[in-house]
């Protein structure tokens, strides 16, 4: 690739001074806008020595709580987006259904909506004056056992219908009576999941369930802002690969589970890793939407970006930059991981093509 690039550049035959000026300008911009601030972040963070830096990060109670909160919020949002992203990409790439174009467009919505607006949407729904807020506050936790058990029942019914053999000859026992199995089995699943929740008092009593100004709100807002990343990475990959390999696996006797883990996932692996890296970086750094739903309760609902802003407003520059240096480190690691993935991908393609060329020549 590089050889080809060089020859193209040479063939343009631009004067030496044009090339040097353009390259110099690009380097200058990057140094002024990227390198200097980057170095400055670490310089400021360490300006009062490493001991203070360490104390600022891990012995300041509120800062440490912010780091821990981010470590909960970002991975949870990432997990939600992974499930959503793979499902959405699968649906869009492999099936045609009414509303497919609309869904594709809607996936991009969080990119085009201002994060502040996204935050406000959640306040409007779950806030104290919102549509669901008052109910959740009053009865949120008492409703939880029902919600969880009903989810379990839904999962059971889906699995039952999904795994039920189509061939009438294979229908034995439980599979032969879909209505009975759905009603009786569903009831059993409900009872089995409901009883322990009550018996062990899984959900707190006399406590109101808060979404806004609490961790669930932070997770929701972060997930909303970052949900295009995984899906956007996967859709083109899945579309390029098509369904034939999966059909081949099915005709060889693989079930849906085997097809997914043995054929689909290995094929989309790099796209998936790429999406996860980008999604995680964005989730950890998200500020706008989180700012609206957080409520800024120190030590409780401040994530790392919010903590940085708060310390900065309190003129605690070393403290502020110490947290900032952590986020910057995450960004640098993301960049490295991204380069690594790109290189692994290019390598794979290169060995594959080389092998073919060798055979053809």
């Amino acid at each position: 690739m590089s050889a080809e690039g060089t020859s193209v550049r040479n063939s343009q035959n631009d004067a030496v001074w044009v090339r040097r000026t353009l390259t110099g300008f690009a380097v200058l911009v990057i140094v002024v806008l990227v390198i200097i601030p980057l170095v400055n972040v670490f310089a400021q963070a360490l300006s009062e020595g490493f001991g203070t830096y360490w104390d600022n990060l891990f012995h300041d109670h509120d800062t440490f709580a912010a780091i821990k909160l981010t470590m909960i919020v970002a991975p949870t949002a990432l997990l939600l987006n992974l499930i959503f992203g793979v499902t959405a990409a699968w649906a869009i790439a492999k099936f045609s259904f009414p509303g497919r174009t609309l869904l594709t467009a809607l996936i991009d919505l969080p990119f085009s909506v201002s994060p502040v607006v996204a935050g406000l949407i959640f306040v409007l729904i779950f806030g104290l004056q919102g549509y669901l807020g008052p109910f959740l506050r009053r009865d949120g936790y008492s409703a939880m056992p029902y919600v969880l058990s009903l989810l379990a029942v839904a999962l059971y019914v889906l699995l039952y219908l999904g795994l039920r053999p189509i061939n009438p000859l294979e229908l034995r026992g439980w599979w032969r009576h879909p209505w009975l199995a759905t009603l009786v089995g569903g009831g059993l699943v409900f009872a089995v999941t409901f009883a322990p929740q009550i018996y062990f008092e899984l959900w707190p009593r006399d406590t109101s369930l808060k979404i806004i100004f609490a961790t669930p709100g932070l997770i929701l807002a972060t997930a909303f802002i970052t949900f295009p990343f995984v899906a956007r990475e996967l859709i083109p990959v899945m579309e390029a690969i098509g369904v034939e390999e999966e059909l081949a696996a099915v005709s060889l006797g693989a079930n849906g589970w085997q097809v997914f883990w043995q054929i689909t996932v290995p094929n989309i692996k790099w796209g998936l890793i790429y999406g996860i890296i980008l999604c995680n970086a964005r989730a950890m750094g998200e500020f706008g939407a989180v700012y609206v739903v957080s409520g800024h309760i120190a030590g409780l609902t401040d994530t790392m970006p919010l903590r940085i802003e708060k310390l900065f407003q309190e003129y605690n520059l070393p403290g502020s930059f110490a947290v900032a240096s952590l986020l910057t480190l995450v960004a640098l690691l993301t960049l490295l991981a991204k380069i690594g993935v790109d290189r692994a991908e290019a390598n794979r393609i290169k060995t594959a093509t080389e092998g073919t060329n060798e055979l053809r020549s």
């Binding site: 000859l169 059909l247 099915v250 005709s251 006797g253 043995q262 092998g355 055979l359």
Partner: protein, 370 residues
């Protein structure tokens, strides 16, 4: 395993892919589904495999109705047109996959994979990835993967379509020999009549979602049941015209050909294979049609001549065998054309009832009247 398809219908939106197709495939047959693109042959293959669901009709395998059975339970080996090899698995892993998902013991898998590698003569490449193989090698791996789990039927979708001419020729003969060795009931889809005739025991000619004719290659070639089959198999010139009392009138001209088949009066199509067209420089009683030579191509084993009739300007193509002495033909000159072995079909193209036993093609028929 024998397969029996009964009145299968399939529509995609407004497009009818299969319009009541019935077909019996006896155990151990190597059968070709032959037809132009869009004739429904691939859809039929995918319905047999369970990769597509018929709107109505049944698929029966060894007496068992498998219409509703999912593809994974059908024990079908399917070879995709573009191979669909698992790109992240090596050749050996690809071949092993069907056995692995069926939880065969490791030792048995290893033995079977070695056996298949030997069969496709790719033992040395077993650790390569599909991207590192040539087209012909990929095709053989796809075949080995489909055969490894000992399917009761082998289905191949345009198996040679994506290969270059020489490799295609080799693979055709190889598949024929392979079938003679392992005798698994096999169905393959092709749009190339030569391929179908060379490889298959039985040929099914399809057109517009229907089956036009079923028979041995010899049968289908010698006794085409419809004008479509006649035209599809080989290079043919057709003439529109009218049948009246066992005579065929060529278009609006005053040339008549006797009709030997039982074709009722009315509009009809006469077909003649290009190698049954003879060209003379002098008029004679057997060659009543005057035509202007528009093009002569002597490259290859035959001389190809294109002519334009002087009466109604329609075109005729001829292939003249070089052995029999070709008269000197110049573009622009007038020549006289004899049509041998003409077949006449009613032009509404409805498939006639089982092809008449009369071998009309054996009788030279062209004669000028009036």
């Amino acid at each position: 395993m024998s397969i029996s398809i009964d009145r299968v219908y399939k529509k995609f939106g407004n497009f009818t892919a299969l319009d009541g197709v019935s077909l019996d495939v006896p155990d151990g047959t190597l059968l070709a589904l032959l037809g132009p693109s869009g004739s429904g042959k691939t859809t039929l293959l995918r319905i047999i495999a369970g990769l597509e669901v018929a709107d109505s009709g049944t698929v029966i395998s060894d007496g068992e109705d498998i219409t509703q059975q999912s593809a994974r339970h059908r024990k079908v080996g399917f070879v995709f047109q573009h191979y669909a090899l698992f790109r992240h698995m090596t050749v050996a892993e690809n071949i092993a996959y069907g056995l692995k998902v069926r939880k065969a013991p490791r030792k048995q898998i290893r033995e079977r994979v070695d056996e298949m590698l030997h069969l496709i003569r790719l033992e040395t490449l077993q650790n390569r990835y599909p991207a590192q193989l040539s087209g012909g090698q990929r095709q053989r791996v796809a075949l080995a993967r489909a055969l490894a789990a000992q399917p009761s039927v082998l289905l191949l979708d345009e198996p040679f379509g994506a290969l270059d001419a020489k490799v295609r020729q080799e693979l055709r003969q190889w598949i024929r020999r392979l079938h003679d060795e392992i005798h698994v009931t096999s169905i393959f889809v092709t749009h190339d009549q030569e391929e179908a005739f060379e490889v298959a025991d039985r040929v099914v000619v399809m057109n517009h979602a229907r089956i036009e004719q079923i028979g041995t290659p010899q049968d289908v070639y010698s006794h085409p049941a419809t004008a479509f089959v006649y035209q599809f198999l080989g290079n043919v010139t057709t003439f529109g015209g009218t049948v009246r009392d066992a005579w065929f009138q060529l278009g609006q001209t005053s040339t008549y050909l006797p009709v030997t088949e039982p074709v009722r009066n009315g509009p009809a199509i006469a077909c003649v294979r290009n190698h049954d067209v003879k060209v003379y420089t002098q008029p004679n009683s057997a060659a009543p049609i005057a035509a202007r030579i528009t093009h002569v191509n002597a490259a290859g084993s035959v001389v190809r001549v294109e002519l334009e009739r002087t009466d109604d300007k329609s075109r005729i193509a001829a292939e003249l065998c070089k052995d029999n002495g070709v008269p000197p033909l110049q573009p622009g000159a007038t020549a006289y054309v004899e049509l041998r072995n003409v077949r006449v079909f009613p032009s509404d193209a409805a498939p006639p009832h089982p092809s008449p036993a009369v071998d009309a093609t054996r009788q030279p028929v062209a004669r000028a009247v009036g």
